[in-house]
Amino acid sequence: MSKRRGLPTALILLTAVTLVSAALVRDGEGQALQGEYKVGVLEPLTGALAFEGKRHLEGMEIMRDMINERGGVMGKKLVFAVGDAVDPTAAASEANRLITREGVKIITGTFSSRLCGAASETAARHNVIYWETSCVDPRFNKRGLKNVFRTEIDATGFGWYNIEFIAKHLAPRFSLKPNELKIAFLSEDSSYGQGVTEAARDRARRDFGMQEVALEYYNFQTINDFTPIIAKLKQLNPDVVHHIAYSNDAPLFWRQSREQNFIFKALVHAGATGYGGADFGKATGADGNGPFALLEPGPGFRVEALRPEGQKIEREFRDAVQKKTGSYPLGGHQLAAGGLWVLKLVLDQAKTDELEKFRSAVMALDLPVGSVINGWGIKFSETGQNANERVQHYMLQWQNGQLVTVWPEEFSTLRAKWIPLGAWDQRK
């Protein structure tokens, strides 16, 4: 009798132990998911910004699959309702559609600073959470909206990091003091370019007394020739060109600078487009050596410099991107996926998408630098902005067709080259 009753009990215990062990081994992987949880994803999938919007969506999809392998969100399978935000008007109308037709309570996206403002206003009118992963417009979190959150650094942070790098890493290697540096600011004129440039100008002048020799804005969609700007800059002879660009204008400026033999000591950019995008390398080939771009980490990144939990998720994410795209994660992948992962952490903590409780969970999250993908930490301010100092960023440099991590040096196995930049034919 006891033997008969003992066998099922042992089997039940064995099954329970196996299930618990499996759960402990892989952070919830393999859990049966109870239904679906739908999030709205808004990216520019057609039009001028589609090249980057599609990359962001790909990053989101890779991370969504990783999240579902790890127990989904709030125990449910994460699914997307996707909207195409081709321009600000479409961003607002698509946000409206996702909310009213698809019934989403959270929208995430949208890559561009041109789009995030309009889309998040719509979300605010419906009291829906807007989870921004990429746009850097400083105004995004300064409108008093309680429903908006941003995981990525804002443009102020981009400008802060760029000037930090120029003053503390480049200036000593030029044998110049920061206040002796002549800097020219060149930028496309969207809120992204203006946001980064104005923040950088402010810090360059206020904290380091750098000499601003030029400020030039242009429309990236209509610029066809940089030679007049280059002719002007050549006469001003800047040490550093601070250039915020998109993917069509960055290669054009670089190629025409070479043609015009415009020599400067360094060019510094910020963001996953322009000099920070893979397209720059394709466009310039071996002639593209030298420019710096502030980004998420690239090759040369010391993953072991992260905290153990950060190392684990970073490695798994890289493997997943490699498997799906055959390449190292690109900036768009990293921003979108990094942001979505943080959203999972918040939802799992909040266990609801009800705004007040969700917001409390966001504010309670406190992870040091190195804890999540891209080596980021998490600490949101009351405005819904992840603290710039927690969103660790890295300076990458184009070296022989590859964008590699060179700064901060404690996070990198590789080092910056061509400081200062020599003649155009000597950057090999």
């Binding site: 242009y218 429309n219 209509t222 066809n224 020739d225 007049p228 006469q235 394709k282």
Partner: protein, 293 residues
């Protein structure tokens, strides 16, 4: 003063690129009285033709140029038969909606088929820099300029001294009289559309070594082409060439003197002024803007 030679050369070469695009647009407008809002997308198709020929078979864009003429002539005949024939005699509103629709369809088809990635054509001549004293310029730009001048001259000659050209001009001047004279106006429109597309297709191929190739690449240039066409005189090909040089001069000198952010303000003020005070364009005959309307 040291920058003057560079600014002059940049103006001339950039003007050549704009002329290449604008000549086809002004031809279509001059004969058919249709403002082709899909012009930029045909430019983009020319750039992709050069890109794929280079990427798949290593063909230099100048070799592709030879094939681009019959290809775009064929594209012109097909799109005319499928799209334009039905609207060429319709109101301007219908024509505008149709060509805007064609533009969006082509742009998004390119996006779906070729993705939004930026592509690059890098033949040997794209890296060749010619230095002339203080000024420097790219060999591919010089070739684009030379072809623009040759093409414009050839088109002017075709319109002036061939029977087909005379028939096209007659149709442009008075479509009803031309019909009464036994001219097959549908054939004329088809020919004008196809030649216009050949012009812009060739422009796309020639520009491919200079600019990135992507689905919305045409938008970068086509707005300027409209300004050029208005300045030069609607339907006037030599005017388009001169208008291109004016727009390029405004852009280059304006960027140098007052900053790039102002260049669009400057040439669109010029654009509006011409429309208000001299609607036939700076070089067009008075009243030509209403011909055939």
């Amino acid at each position: 003063m040291g920058a003057v030679p560079q600014l002059v050369i940049s103006t001339v070469l950039l003007g050549g690129i704009y002329a290449l695009i604008a000549v086809g647009l002004t031809l279509i407008f001059g004969i058919m009285r249709v403002v082709n809002f899909a012009h930029g997308e045909f430019l983009m198709l020319g750039m992709y033709l050069a890109f794929w020929a280079f990427a798949l078979w290593g063909l230099d864009p100048y070799v592709v140029l030879v094939g681009a003429v019959p290809i775009f002539f064929g594209v012109g005949l097909v799109t005319y038969a499928l799209v334009m024939r039905g609207v060429v005699k319709a109101s301007h509103n219908v024509q505008i909606f149709t060509t805007v629709g064609l533009s969006t369809a082509l742009q998004n088809a390119a996006l779906v088929v070729w993705t939004g990635d930026f592509r690059v054509v890098r033949p040997w001549h794209s890296g060749v820099v010619i230095r002339l004293g203080e000024a420097a310029f790219n060999l591919s730009q010089v070739v684009a300029f030379a072809v623009a001048v040759l093409f414009t001259a050839a088109l002017v000659a075709f319109m002036k001294w061939t029977r087909a050209g005379r028939i096209m001009r007659a149709t442009a001047q008075d479509v009803e009289a031309a019909t009464l004279m036994g001219i097959d106006t549908d054939r004329v429109y088809r020919l004008a559309w196809a030649i216009g597309l050949v012009c812009v297709g060739i422009a796309g191929v020639l520009m491919s070594p200079l600019y990135s190739v992507y689905p919305t690449a045409g938008l970068q240039f086509v707005l300027l082409a409209y300004v050029v066409v208005v300045l030069g005189g609607l339907g006037d090909m030599m005017g388009a060439l001169l208008g291109s040089l004016i727009v390029a001069a405004v852009e280059v000198i304006g960027s140098y003197l007052v900053g790039s952010a102002w260049k669009e303000v400057i040439y669109f003020v010029l654009f509006i002024a011409v429309l208000v005070f001299r609607p036939a364009g700076l070089f067009g005959q008075r009243g030509s803007e209403t011909l055939g309307a």
